[in-house]
């Protein structure tokens, strides 16, 4: 009986390992959920009603167990001197923009996760830690997150933030549309506290109708555009404003959903792990065949000698 050489043994073990890994990985990695419910919720932000009281910032911190401090300290308007982005301890911030038409009525714009209908972060997350739920919210799961920060790169609104200061178990953080409160039948914390109801919470379809109605009734007050209706395939948060949205800090984006291109490539390559398995098994087969040929050749050479 012919002895198994070291090389052939390793080859066969390698092939077997690749196959089993492919199968186990396929089972272990949970597919991210991306529910696009007809009845999904949204928020219509009417920037003409926002006065920049920042109570939403305070309420948001309280709802997420972040130290919010005294609400009186939020009256300080000097924070508006710089543009702010959501951070690890503030999932929403309000920015202020000057208004040439009336300098005494500046335009205040709340920034938070837009909760896209086709979220790029969900598609980018390799461990399925970010999921879109039936209420429209895009929520991250800290237990699954491995800290690859792909979602930060993918998000076109630059919303997810990473705890860079934390050495052990850093997390990705962002607005979760108060998913825990939604499950209890409560409104998102920011919506609940807003004294002017600049944030209107309701079914997204109805909010779009409401926004159209507002524009129709006050054509001088609003520009005829609902930001978020079509941006990157639609977002749960919608904005109305008196002027061009780029001038109030909202990025100009394509109507095509962001995951469209990346997903087709990524998912194409890794679909059910068939392509990688096929690739490695083909490589294995090739190696085995070439090895076999060499062995046969060697055997023949031995015969002649």
């Amino acid at each position: 009986m012919k002895e198994i050489s070291r090389r052939s043994f390793l080859t066969s073990i390698g092939a077997a390992a690749t196959g089993s890994l492919a199968i186990s990985a396929n089972q272990a990695l949970s597919q991210p959920t991306n529910i696009l419910s007809e009845d999904r919720r949204g928020v219509l932000v009417d920037t003409s009603n926002c006065v920049g009281c920042r109570s939403c910032e305070w309420a948001c911190k309280n709802a997420h167990g972040i130290d919010a401090g005294d609400i009186e300290s939020y009256k300080d308007r000097s924070v508006f001197n710089n543009m702010r982005r959501p951070g690890i301890d503030s999932y929403t911030v309000v920015n202020e923009f000057s208004n040439e038409k009336n300098p005494l009525l500046p335009i205040d714009v709340k920034v938070q996760c837009m909760h896209c209908d086709k979220p790029a972060c969900v598609s980018a997350c390799i461990v399925g830690a970010i999921n879109k739920h039936e209420d429209g919210s895009v929520v991250w799961d800290t237990d699954k997150c491995i800290g690859c920060r792909y979602c930060m790169v993918a998000c076109q609104f630059q919303i997810p933030v990473f705890e860079f200061e934390k050495a052990i178990q850093p997390e990705i953080r962002k607005c979760d549309f108060c998913y825990e409160r939604f499950k209890k039948g409560k409104l998102p914390a920011c919506v609940e506290i807003c004294p002017l109801e600049a944030l209107t919470y309701g079914p997204r379809n109805e909010l779009i109708k409401l926004a159209r109605q507002k524009i129709k009734r006050n054509p001088e007050k609003y520009i005829n555009y609902i930001y978020g209706e079509k941006e990157v395939g639609g977002t749960s948060w919608l904005y109305l404003a008196s002027r061009d949205f780029q001038s109030i800090g909202l990025p100009k984006l394509n109507n095509k959903p962001a995951p469209g291109v990346s997903e087709s490539i990524q998912h194409g390559i890794f679909a059910y792990f068939v392509p990688p398995v096929a690739l490695y098994s083909w490589l294995g087969a090739m190696m085995w065949i070439t090895k076999r040929k060499e062995e046969v050749k060697q055997e023949k050479e031995i015969d002649y000698v």
Binding site: V51, K101, T200, Y201
Partner: protein, 413 residues
């Protein structure tokens, strides 16, 4: 035989058709009757009372219903918003002095709103409708009649009560204060004892509208090349011509007058700080009502105009009572040259009934008796009187034929 059957069939169809038609008529008749019955039941006292009531409210059925006989199941109401139906024609005095707002449970106590002061000034900024929008005829509706107290609700078309209140107030108040602090209107509940509320209610009820600072003159730099500057003397128009604030300042932003920063600075105010975007017609609107027939160069000058001075313009100084009376009193409707003889206006002033003290000089015993012409040559009273026809060593402004009376100048209203 076949023909006979055909006729029978046709006859049968015809009778069925007719009877069904008759049935229709029969059905229709009682309906009509019921309508007329409903109408007749309201005759007499009830109907006249209803009509009286409707007359009082300036309405008829069509104000609210699209047709005349609405039913309970089909009220055929006119579509909301009923902005055209707004009929809040009350005067500020009819409304309450204060309104205590205490509908929303929260950490704050009641807001005491000075309704009277706000309503008195509202005329200059949109009127009652500014707050009482979509009000139907009759009594003024409460906000919570339409605005839900709960934020989580089905109908999203209207803001909830909390938002409705804030939206009414905050746009003016944030411009005035330059902040959005809650304590401007709200008092924390924990600090609000019954006593403190009573003090607050009393203070707000008795509050008077603060004095509104207004400029003496405003210089507008216009784009009109032939005369760039328009100088507007605010106090003249207001005090001398007696033009009310509302006649020019209609539908304006409260902040035009209410500005906490301006008030602090006192009277040294620049009213040209803020540029207001208006069309040419809008700019001229307040002026043309009076200055309609005048040419552009009446107001548009190449340099800043001096204040109107009667001495310079007319060559006749206004003295004593003349300073206090309105222009029209002497000039009539049209401003122009006026006969300067006192008697042209003061027709009753003749020797015997003329009291010389109105001129400011009470004549002494010696001068009381002599003729007017002895001092006022040729009865020309606008020229200085002469003394040297009798006195060689006397000269008028230096020496006087009596004692000077101090004249109380009555301020204009």
């Amino acid at each position: 035989m076949k023909k006979f059957y055909l006729i029978v069939i046709i006859l049968a169809i015809a009778t069925v058709g007719l009877s069904s038609k008759w049935q229709d008529n029969k059905d229709a008749k009682p309906q009509k009757k019921s309508v007329s019955k409903a109408k007749t039941t309201k005759t007499g006292k009830e109907k006249s009372n209803q009509q009286k009531m409707m007359k009082k409210l300036y309405t008829n059925c069509k104000t609210c219903h699209t047709y005349e006989y609405p039913t309970k199941s089909d009220p055929a109401l006119v579509n909301c918003p009923r902005s055209k139906m707004i009929s809040v024609f009350h005067r500020p005095e009819e409304g309450p002095i204060i309104v205590k707002m205490n509908d929303i449970y929260g950490k704050y106590g009641p807001v005491i709103f000075s309704h009277r002061i706000h309503s008195e000034m509202s005329e200059m900024s949109g009127g009652c409708n500014g707050c009482h929008h979509y009000n139907t005829t009759g009594p003024v509706l409460k906000c919570k009649k339409c605005h839900a107290e709960e934020r989580k609700r089905e109908d999203l078309s209207k803001p909830d009560l909390n938002a409705a209140y804030h939206r009414q107030c905050i746009n003016c108040h944030r411009q005035w204060n330059r902040n959005v602090n809650c304590d401007g209107c709200h008092k924390l509940k924990e600090n609000d004892s019954e006593q403190k509320i009573a003090i607050l209610v009393n203070a707000v009820s008795n509050a008077q509208h603060p004095e509104i600072p207004h400029p003496e003159k405003v210089v507008y730099e216009t784009k009109y090349n032939k005369g760039k500057f328009v100088t507007f003397f605010h106090d003249e128009h207001n005090k001398i011509f007696g033009i009310q604030c509302i006649e020019c300042h209609r539908d304006e932003n409260c902040i035009r007058c209410h500005d906490i920063n301006r008030l602090k600075k006192g009277n040294n105010i620049s009213f040209q700080q803020k540029k207001i975007h208006k069309t040419i017609d809008e700019h001229h609107k307040p002026c043309v009502a009076c200055h309609q027939k005048q040419s552009c160069d009446k107001c548009h000058k190449s340099n800043i105009m001096d204040r109107f001075n009667h001495t310079i313009t007319a060559g006749w100084a206004l003295k004593h009572y003349h300073q206090t009376i309105s222009c029209n009193k002497c000039h009539g409707g049209k401003i122009g040259k006026v006969n300067r003889n006192c008697s042209s206006c003061h027709k009753k002033w003749e020797l015997g009934n003329f009291n010389h003290s109105v001129t400011g000089i009470i004549l002494n015993e010696n001068h009381k008796e002599i003729d007017c012409e002895s001092c006022h040559e040729n009865k020309n009273y606008s020229v200085k009187p002469v003394c040297n026809s009798c006195h060689d060593d006397k000269n008028y402004p230096k020496d006087k034929p009596g004692r000077i009376k101090s004249i109380r100048v009555v301020s204009r209203k």
